[in-house]
């Protein structure tokens, strides 16, 4: 059943897979991001309470949701790396980490900029904000742990264990608005019920969410390619690839 996955334990086939996927991800990310941002910021209607200030939702929500999905993907790569001991999985893990950290930072930053005019404060130590900040620290911890080992297999194991332990934080972030009294609002979009947002605001939001996913995919693929080349710089396939791309 999983036989088709086996070739990707080899770095060269992973590199080639990235090469095939990358243009599709970049192109669709560019298109959805452009349409989504223009639709959301210019054409979607203003909110009945928050007016035009609510439009920051089109950046805040996609980056916040994907900061968590990216973490889940990173932890999944770590599990595969630890259990099946596959080097390319560790490389995928470390390729996602900074991208996820970037999304977490964007979510925190846009949240602060939104909170100041609407709530009256840049920051409160409420459960949602604090747990999202912890997510940023987890990403930074995984990245710096990986960097601190010279042996990259050891580095992958250590950073992998840390990212798996940090998965605990994901349900805490998600349910923080239900478990505690938070200043942050509850969930607007949920899988099981009708979204509490008008359709003409909902669809541009979904498009921006898709754009964020594709963007993370594109950057991660490129980072994974770089990591593969950097780590295998002395192997014939890497030399060949570099020479070919240098000419082209």
């Amino acid at each position: 059943m999983w036989k088709w996955l086996h070739p990707y334990a080899k770095s060269e086939s992973t590199y080639k897979l990235c090469q095939t996927l990358l243009p599709w991800f970049s192109l669709s990310a560019g298109i959805t991001l452009t349409i989504g941002i223009i639709w959301g910021l210019m054409f979607a209607p203003a909110d009945y309470q928050q007016g035009d200030s609510f439009r920051i939702i089109y950046i805040h929500v996609p980056s916040a949701i994907t900061s968590m999905s990216a973490y889940a993907a990173m932890a999944l790569a770590a599990v595969i790396g630890l259990v099946w001991q596959i080097r390319t999985a560790y490389m995928a893990m470390i390729a996602i980490a900074p991208v996820g950290a970037m999304m977490t930072f964007i979510a925190l930053f846009t949240g602060a900029a939104w909170g100041k005019p609407m709530w009256g404060t840049w920051w409160v130590w409420d459960a949602r904000l604090t747990s999202e900040l912890v997510l940023l620290f987890l990403y930074l911890g995984v990245i710096s742990l990986y960097k601190s080992f010279d042996d990259k297999i050891q580095a992958g194991k250590a950073a992998g264990v840390m990212s798996i332990v940090g998965v605990i934080n994901l349900p805490i972030i998600h349910y923080s608005v239900e478990w505690w009294n938070t200043l942050h609002q509850g969930a607007t979009i949920s899988k099981f019920s009708k979204p509490s947002i008008a359709p003409e605001m909902f669809w541009p939001l979904m498009l921006n969410l898709l754009a964020a996913v594709l963007l993370i995919g594109a950057i991660t693929l490129k980072r994974l390619q770089n990591e593969l080349l950097r780590r295998e710089i002395h192997r014939p396939w890497a030399v060949k690839t570099l020479l070919k791309e240098g000419k082209g």
Binding site: P45, Y48, Q49, G120, I164, Q185, I197, E200
Partner: protein, 162 residues
């Protein structure tokens, strides 16, 4: 899956479970101890049988009672009533209120309980719910018509919204 892989998978899963249990216990202990959050009826009637003491610092969350907002003409001082389901607690505050502060809006205030139903706040934060909709829809569905404070007088003459 061979036995070595299985062992490693079990190892990974048990780490997650153990850490999860530890975090869970920590958080549940924390939420019992440091939760100074009260609703107006909890301040009057007590939360789990305990009423907050006069002079205690606390957070209160409730709806601003329509018609209760009194602004001082000379300064930034403002006082308003908060309610949830029953009793009313008065809050006084000196400072700039957030954009979303309106009558009927949910807010969270931090301050000192000066009398058993009077709070002197040093921070007022507005809370909003998870609903987003265009103004026309809100007017149709809820009969809500929000007018910006600075447009209040001119709009009464022209009769138009925002």
């Amino acid at each position: 899956m061979n036995p070595r892989r299985q062992k490693r998978l079990i190892g990974v899963l048990s780490i997650v479970l153990l850490v999860g249990a530890a975090v869970w216990m920590m958080l549940s202990a924390l939420s019992e101890n440091i939760d100074h959050f009260y609703t107006p009826s909890e301040i009057i009637n007590g939360k789990q049988g305990v009423t907050p003491k006069v002079g205690q610092r606390l957070r209160i969350g409730g709806m601003v009672v329509p018609g209760s907002v009194k602004r001082d003409q000379e300064s930034l001082s403002v006082s308003f009533d908060l309610a949830d389901t029953g009793p009313v607690v008065t809050v006084s505050y000196a400072g700039i209120l957030p954009d979303l502060f309106r009558e009927g809006q949910g807010i969270v205030a931090t301050g000192r309980l000066a009398e058993n139903n009077f709070i002197v706040a040093d921070e007022v934060l507005a809370k909003h719910d998870e609903e987003y909709m265009p103004p026309e829809l809100a007017e149709k569905m809820k009969g809500i018509k929000h007018v910006k404070p600075e447009n209040l007088n001119t709009n009464q003459n022209t009769g138009s919204g925002q």
